[in-house]
C-alpha cells in the first residue's frame, strides 16, 4: 500500500489479524465478565454491554452476575452453576437467560473459570457469554416438532386403544362407551357426548356423555333442526371453531356452548364408511366433543377425527348386528325353555302359573295370563306393581275384540302389551306383559311376543283339553264306581273305597264292583286296566260290563276269565288288565275265586290271622306270553270272615320290596280286626298310602255272614259312634231283630258309648270304648265298657237325658264299676220274630 503514495500509516499499521488486545477484549464476538467470588461484576466488555443494553457503570461494583438472570435461572445459578464452579473450578456451556436493561431476555451459553490465589482461596471468576438466540430458536423448533410428534403419537396411541376397544366391544352400549372416551385423551377435549340413531323410531337418542350437564340431553327426532340432527343428516364432520360460528349456523349449539362455557365444538358423524363414498354409507350416530378454549385443529387431527368416526361407525354397525343376533338367540332360547317348562306341567292352572313365573323377571317385570275357561275364568299373575286395572281392562278388551296384539307405546301410561291367545281362530284368553322400555329392536321384539303368545296359546289349549279329558274320565270312573253296591242283605256287607292319585295324575284304570248274580250268589271284583286317562276309564267301563254280562249261575270264575280273554280280541285296550274275581254262595258260605295276574285277596277269618289267598292264579287278561289256563279255587268261609280285594296302589312303593308291602297290609288288616267295618277300607288306605300317593287305590272288603258275637273297639271320638252303629245295625238285622227293637238297641248303645266318650274320657282323647253284643232267641245284650272316670248322673241335664233314653229303650240296665272303669250292661227282650 505504501508504494502507491498513500499516506504511510505503517507506524500505526497492524496486520488485520494482529488485534489490539484491549479492542479484542472489548469487541470480541462474545461477552466477557470478570466477577469477584461473590459474583460482583468488576469488569465487563463492550459486547456484553451492547447485547444487554446496560452501561458499564450500571454493572461494575453494583450487580452480581446472578442478578442479571431470569428468576428461574437465578435459582439454577445458585443450585448448580455456583456449586459446580466452586468444586470443579470451571463450568461449560451452561444455558442461562440474561435479562437486559429493557427486560428483554437474551438466551446465552456461559463458560466460567474460577481463578484461585496462592493460598488456594477463590480470587476471581472469568465468564464468557455466548449469544444463543439463534440456537434457542432452533431448539424451540426442535422441541415443538418433538412435542407435535409426541402429541401425534399420543393421539395415535389413544386411537389404537380405541380401535382395539371397539373391536372388543360386543354391544352397542359398549361401543358407545369406548367412542365416548376417545376425544379427551386424543384431542384434549373438555367433554364428549354420543347420540345414536334409532331408525325404527326415527329418533336420535342421547346415549351417554362424560359430562351430562352440557348440551341438550333430550332425545330428538331425526328431522330436528338441532345441530346434532343436522350433522347426522349431512353425514360429514363439522368443526365449530368459535361461538360466533355456532351462532351463525346452529343457534341451539351456541346456546349450550354459552351455558357450559365452551368455545369450540366438533360434531362427528359415526358412519359405516368414508364420507366421500356416495351411497352405502349410513350415519349411525354423532359424537360431539367440545373445548373450553377456541381450538384450531390441524389437518392431521382432522384426518384422525374422521377416521375415528368411521371406526366407531363400523364398530356400531357390527355391534348392532351382533346385538340383534344375540337378542334373537336369547329370545329363541327363552321360547324353547318356556315351552319345555310348560310341557312339564299338565294341569292348566299350574301351566299358567309357570308361564308367568318364567316371563317375570326374565323378560318382564309384571305379567298376567287370563284364560276364558270355566265359569269364573282363570287368572294368574306375577311381579309388580300391578298396572291400572281400568286401563288394562280396556286394552285387554281391545285385544280380545280385534284378536290382535295391542303393543305398549312410549308414554301410553300403561306400558303393558296385551297379546290375545288364539288357537284355531278362537281367543282362549290374553297374556299381558310389562317389559322394560327397549331402546331398539322393537319390531323384532313384537315378532318375539307374537311367537310367545302362539306357543302359550297352544300350551294352554292343550292343558285345557287335558283338563277336559281328565274331568270326563274322572266323571266316567266315578259314575261307574258309584253304581249301587248291593246292601241291606244281612248275609253280607260290602265296603269299598276309591282314592285317586294325589299327584295330579290322569285317572287310572282301577275299579271295583259287587253285584248279585242270583238271589243267593254274590260276585265281587277288583281290577286294574293298563294305562291312564279317558281310554283307561272307558276300557274299565267295558270290562266291568263284560264281567257283569259273563257272570252267571253256571259259569264260575275260571270260565268268566276265559270269556274276558275272548273279549280282549275285540277290545284290545283291555289286554293285560288284571282282575280278581270271587263268587260267594250266600246259602253255603262258599267262596270261589280266581286271580288273573292280580294281587292275591287277603282273608281274615274270625279266628286266626289274615291269610293271602294264593291259589287259582293265572296270567292277566288276554296275555299272550302268560299262562292262560284259567283256574279257580273254592273254599268255605266262617261267618264273620272278611275278604279284602285291592289294587297294587295300596301296597306297591318304589322304596320298598313288594314282600314288605304284603307284610304291612296283613299287619294293619289284623290290627283293624275289631274296627267297625264301615270306614275300614278308607282307614286302611289312609294308613298304608297316606295323602301323598302317586297311584290310584281301589279296595273292596266283603264281610260274610253274621258273627255270633259282635265285638268292636272304637276310639274316644264321637265320629266313630256312627261307624259302630252301621256294623251293629247290620249285625242285628242279620240276626233277624225287628225294627223297633233294633232302633231301641242302637239308641241305647249309642248313648252308652257317647256317655263313655263324653264323660268317662272327657280328658283322654286316646281312650278306647269296647262294645260286645250277644244275641239269643229272646234277648239282645250289649256291654259297653270304658276305662275312664265314672261320674254319676249328677245335675247334668243332657247326661241325664242320655241315661234316661238308655233306661227307656232297654228292659234291664246295670252299671258295673268294679274294675278301673265303667261297664254298662243292657238287655232288651226281642219282640216277635219278624
Amino acid at each position: 500500500m505504501s508504494e502507491s503514495g498513500v499516506p504511510d500509516v505503517t507506524s500505526e499499521l497492524r496486520l488485520p489479524w494482529d488485534d489490539d488486545p484491549e479492542d479484542l477484549y472489548e469487541h470480541a464476538p462474545c461477552g466477557y465478565l470478570t466477577t469477584l467470588p461473590d459474583g460482583t461484576i468488576v469488569r465487563v466488555n463492550e459486547t456484553f454491554l451492547t447485547w444487554t443494553g446496560y452501561s458499564r457503570a450500571d454493572l461494575i461494583g453494583h450487580r452480581r452476575f446472578r442478578d442479571l438472570l431470569t428468576p428461574g435461572d437465578q435459582i439454577y445459578h445458585e443450585t448448580h452453576y455456583a456449586p459446580l464452579l466452586m468444586m470443579q473450578g470451571e463450568v461449560h456451556e451452561i444455558a442461562l437467560e440474561v435479562v437486559g436493561a429493557d427486560r428483554r431476555r437474551l438466551p446465552t451459553l456461559v463458560n466460567s473459570v474460577l481463578e484461585r490465589g496462592p493460598t488456594g482461596a477463590p480470587r476471581i471468576i472469568r465468564t464468557m457469554v455466548f449469544n444463543a438466540t439463534e440456537r434457542r430458536g432452533y431448539e424451540r423448533e426442535l422441541l415443538a416438532a418433538r412435542r407435535a410428534a409426541e402429541s401425534s403419537e399420543q393421539r395415535v396411541r389413544v386411537l389404537q386403544q380405541i380401535v382395539a376397544d371397539l373391536a372388543a366391544a360386543p354391544t352397542e352400549a359398549e361401543v358407545a362407551e369406548a367412542v365416548l372416551r376417545a376425544p379427551e385423551p386424543a384431542f384434549q377435549a373438555a367433554s364428549s357426548s354420543i347420540y345414536l340413531i334409532d331408525p325404527e323410531r326415527d329418533l336420535l337418542v342421547a346415549v351417554a356423555s362424560t359430562d351430562p350437564t352440557t348440551g341438550n340431553w333430550d332425545d330428538m327426532p331425526c328431522s330436528s333442526t338441532r345441530a346434532v340432527a343436522e350433522v347426522a343428516r349431512r353425514g360429514d364432520l363439522h368443526v365449530i371453531g368459535t361461538l360466533a360460528e355456532a351462532e351463525a349456523h346452529f343457534p341451539d349449539l351456541a346456546e349450550s356452548m354459552r351455558r357450559s362455557e365452551r368455545r369450540s365444538v366438533v360434531l362427528l358423524p359415526l358412519t359405516t364408511g368414508p364420507a366421500d363414498e356416495q351411497g352405502g354409507v349410513a350415519v349411525l350416530g354423532v359424537l360431539a366433543f367440545s373445548f373450553r378454549d377456541e381450538r384450531t385443529l390441524t389437518d392431521g387431527e382432522l384426518r384422525v377425527i374422521r377416521l375415528l368416526g368411521q371406526q366407531a361407525g363400523q364398530a356400531l354397525d357390527r355391534a348392532r348386528l351382533y346385538d340383534d343376533a344375540r337378542r334373537r338367540e336369547e329370545r329363541s332360547e327363552f321360547l324353547a325353555r318356556t315351552t319345555r317348562a310348560l310341557d312339564e306341567e299338565h294341569r292348566l292352572l299350574q301351566r299358567a302359573r309357570r308361564l308367568v313365573e318364567r316371563v317375570v323377571p326374565e323378560i318382564a317385570d309384571w305379567a298376567l295370563v287370563r284364560l276364558q275357561v270355566g265359569p269364573a275364568g282363570l287368572v294368574e299373575h306375577h311381579g309388580g306393581p300391578a298396572p291400572d286395572p281400568a286401563r288394562l281392562g280396556a286394552r285387554t278388551a281391545e285385544a280380545i275384540e280385534t284378536a290382535a296384539p295391542v303393543f305398549a307405546i312410549d308414554g301410553d301410561g300403561l306400558g303393558c302389551t296385551v297379546l290375545p291367545l288364539i288357537v284355531r281362530g278362537r281367543v282362549l284368553g290374553t297374556l299381558a306383559v310389562r317389559m322394560a322400555p327397549d331402546r331398539r329392536g322393537a319390531e323384532a321384539e313384537r315378532l318375539f311376543l307374537v311367537d310367545l303368545a302362539d306357543r302359550v296359546a297352544l300350551a294352554c289349549e292343550n292343558a285345557r283339553l287335558y283338563e277336559q279329558e281328565r274331568a270326563i274320565a274322572r266323571t266316567l270312573q266315578r259314575s261307574l264306581l258309584a253304581a249301587d253296591v248291593p246292601g241291606a242283605d244281612p248275609r253280607f256287607v260290602v265296603e269299598t273305597h276309591y282314592q285317586a292319585a294325589a299327584q295330579d295324575m290322569e285317572v287310572g284304570g282301577d275299579w271295583y264292583d259287587a253285584f248279585l248274580i242270583t238271589a243267593n250268589k254274590l260276585a265281587v271284583v277288583v281290577g286294574d286296566v293298563v294305562g291312564r286317562g279317558i281310554e283307561a276309564a272307558t276300557t274299565m267301563g267295558q270290562l266291568r260290563s263284560a264281567i257283569r254280562a259273563l257272570a252267571s249261575a253256571e259259569n264260575g270264575p275260571a270260565r268268566l276269565l276265559e270269556g274276558l280273554d275272548r273279549f280282549c280280541d275285540r277290545v284290545d285296550s283291555a289286554r293285560m288288565s288284571t282282575v280278581v274275581y270271587a263268587e260267594v254262595d250266600l246259602l253255603s258260605s262258599e267262596v270261589t275265586y280266581a286271580c288273573a295276574g292280580h294281587l292275591p285277596p287277603l282273608l281274615h277269618e274270625p279266628a286266626g290271622s289274615p291269610q293271602y289267598l294264593l291259589d287259582a292264579r293265572s296270567a292277566p287278561i288276554g296275555s299272550r306270553a302268560g299262562d292262560r289256563r284259567r283256574v279257580e279255587h273254592r273254599m268255605r268261609l266262617a261267618a264273620g270272615s272278611r275278604l279284602l280285594l285291592y289294587t297294587d296302589g295300596l301296597i306297591e312303593r318304589r322304596t320298598r320290596p313288594i314282600d314288605r308291602g304284603f307284610e304291612i297290609l296283613a299287619r294293619e288288616y289284623a290290627r283293624l280286626r275289631d274296627a267297625p267295618l264301615k270306614g275300614l277300607t278308607a282307614g286302611l288306605a289312609d294308613t298304608l298310602v297316606g295323602r301323598d300317593h302317586s297311584d290310584d287305590v281301589c279296595l273292596l272288603c266283603l264281610t260274610l255272614g253274621t258273627e255270633e258275637r259282635l265285638e268292636r273297639s272304637i276310639g274316644a271320638d264321637p265320629v266313630q259312634i256312627a261307624l259302630l252303629r252301621a256294623d251293629m245295625r247290620g249285625w242285628l238285622a242279620g240276626h233277624g231283630v225287628d225294627t223297633e227293637c233294633l232302633n231301641a238297641v242302637l239308641l241305647a248303645c249309642s248313648e252308652a258309648v257317647a256317655n263313655s266318650i263324653e264323660h268317662g274320657y272327657a280328658h283322654d282323647p286316646f281312650g278306647v270304648v269296647d262294645v260286645a253284643a250277644t244275641i239269643s232267641a229272646g234277648t239282645v245284650e250289649i256291654r259297653v265298657s270304658d276305662r275312664g272316670r265314672w261320674r254319676g248322673p249328677g245335675n247334668d241335664v243332657a247326661r241325664g237325658r242320655g241315661l234316661q233314653l238308655i233306661y227307656e229303650s232297654m228292659d234291664d240296665v246295670a252299671f258295673d264299676r268294679a274294675g278301673d272303669g265303667t261297664m254298662v250292661i243292657m238287655r232288651r227282650h226281642r219282640g216277635e220274630p219278624s
Partner: protein
C-alpha cells in the same frame, strides 16, 4: 259341612228345615248352629225329621233348644216325624209335647197358618 244332614226351604210363612241321616253327638252341635242361624228371624218353623234314620240325646238336646227359643219368642214350631221311625221313637221316649209333633208336613204347615 253340614249340607249332607240339613237343608232349608220355605213353606208359606214358615221356614222349613229338612234333616236327614243320622244325628248324634258327632254332628248335632254343628247342625244346631246352622239351624239357629237360619231361623233367628223366622215367624214359624217346621222341622222335617221324616228322613232322619237315627237321633240320639244330643239331637234331642238340639231340638229342645230350638223349640225353647221359638217358644220364648212366641213363634210356633212343629216337628214333623213319621208314623214310626228312629226320630219318632227317640222323641217319644223323651216325652216331647204331643202338640209339637206332627206326622204330616202339609197339615203341620196349615196349622202354622202357612
Amino acid at each position: 259341612m253340614t249340607d249332607q244332614w240339613v237343608s232349608f226351604s220355605r213353606r208359606g210363612m214358615a221356614d222349613l228345615v229338612h234333616l236327614k241321616g243320622e244325628i248324634d253327638l258327632a254332628n248335632a252341635n254343628d247342625i244346631g248352629r246352622v239351624i239357629v242361624a237360619h231361623t233367628t228371624a223366622a215367624n214359624a218353623v217346621l222341622i222335617d225329621l221324616t228322613a232322619v234314620s237315627f237321633l240320639d240325646s244330643a239331637g234331642v238336646r238340639l231340638l229342645d233348644y230350638i223349640v225353647g227359643d221359638l217358644d220364648d219368642r212366641g213363634k210356633p214350631i212343629r216337628l214333623v216325624v213319621g208314623e214310626r221311625g228312629a226320630a219318632r221313637m227317640t222323641l217319644q221316649l223323651c216325652a216331647f209335647r204331643a202338640d209339637l209333633l206332627a206326622t204330616d208336613l202339609e197339615r203341620a204347615a196349615t196349622d202354622l197358618g202357612g
